[in-house]
Amino acid sequence: MIREFGTGDIVYLVFAARWTLALTALAFAGGAIVGLTLAVLRISQLAPLRFLASLYIQIVQGTPLLVWLFLFYFGLSIAGLPVNAWTAAALAYSIYGGAFLGEIWRGALIAVAPTQWEAGASLGLTYVQQMRHIIIPQAVRIATPPTIGFLVQLIKNTSLAATIGFVELTREGQLTSASTYKPFAVYITVACIYFLICFPLTQWSRRLEERFNVAR
């Protein structure tokens, strides 16, 4: 049945954005775990570990996110697990996000001057203590603006989860468009909601970057 596109639909779309945010949060959490591991491996003293981490990043950054989504969506059943859009999306976005966050965070870790490591070592701190008390606090400041920048990418890319039937903002837009037959109004609304979520983050990231550049 065709119905009008009205305020109710807009409210509905705004509420669908919570699934976009939930998926983003999940993806960021999973990506952070993978990314942190990769970043630490990438600056490891052991060449094979560095190689493996770099191989992972090269492969994931060289394939479309869509392929990962479909691989996990259909691959789960082969592994004997139930096919579930949430699980598939969570796994695919963690793999994908990890590769990009790993690169960003590696950059931040090596941007901390090597003398800082040496200073820690000369105080008798262990590797973990140097990392925990000296390197990471400084690296976090460097990494924050690009990490927020990537978060924006992640929010936008959660729209791809619509293709495996994950109901978030874009999928809800498709459904609303099909039932109201007002695709232009629907997709403009959807785009506006994404913009309202992403734009403040973009601005925040830019301000932090400027402040950081001044501080240096």
């Binding site: 090269q58 492969i59 950054q61 060289g62 394939t63 479309p64 996110l65 869509l66 392929v67 990962w68 479909f70 691989l71 259909f74 691959g75 059943s77 082969i78 924006v152 936008k156 890319n157 729209s159 791809l160 619509a162 293709t163 874009t170 837009g173 498709q174 468009s177 007002k182 695709p183 232009f184 629907v186 997709y187 403009i188 959807v190 785009a191 994404y194 913009f195 992403c198 734009f199 973009t202």
Partner: protein, 219 residues
Amino acid sequence: MKYGLQFRDVFAAWEFLLEGLAVTLALSVCTMVLGFFLGLACACARTYGGARFKQAVTVYIETIRNTPLLVQIFLLYFGLPSLGLRLEGFDAALIALVINLGAYSTEIIRAGLEAIPKSQIEAGQSLGLTPWQIFRYIIVFPALKAMYPALSSQFILLMLATSVVSQISVQDLFHVGSIIQSRTFRDFEVYTVIGCIYLALAFMMRGVFAVIYRQVFAR
């Protein structure tokens, strides 16, 4: 029950895969060329143009960079017909991708243009060069060199992003994959093969860009 991987059915459709690959390549190359020139025009407008231009370019960049590509494509393909403008899938995809890449490359090109020290431009002016000569002999080469790394990785990201056009039924590599999947039910195998083809493409592009860089810029 144990599942055995079978790639035979996927490879049997190699001609079909090649057709999809050709569409992906055509779409990527066209977008790179057109998107670069759109970005160049916008970057010049933003760096050398008046306040009105700067404002318009900023609005364009922020709008595109803060909304998903998929939604932009849907808007062009599904949304425009209700305003009386019906686009073919390939055209809608190409236009959306060019507009998208244009926004990202504007920022990269602008950073490249701004990397030229003002004193060099002033040196050109004091030698009596025309603005075009200054652009041609002083700005272009170092600016291209400065923007090259960021621009080439943006191009690779773009090539991967073209897979999204499969969602409006453009028969690119990814869409061909979905069709083979629905015929053979070899889901996992199909997407593994497709993923490997994209990966090979990305590595090839990286190689080509590195060779060009060495030939042109590393002297």
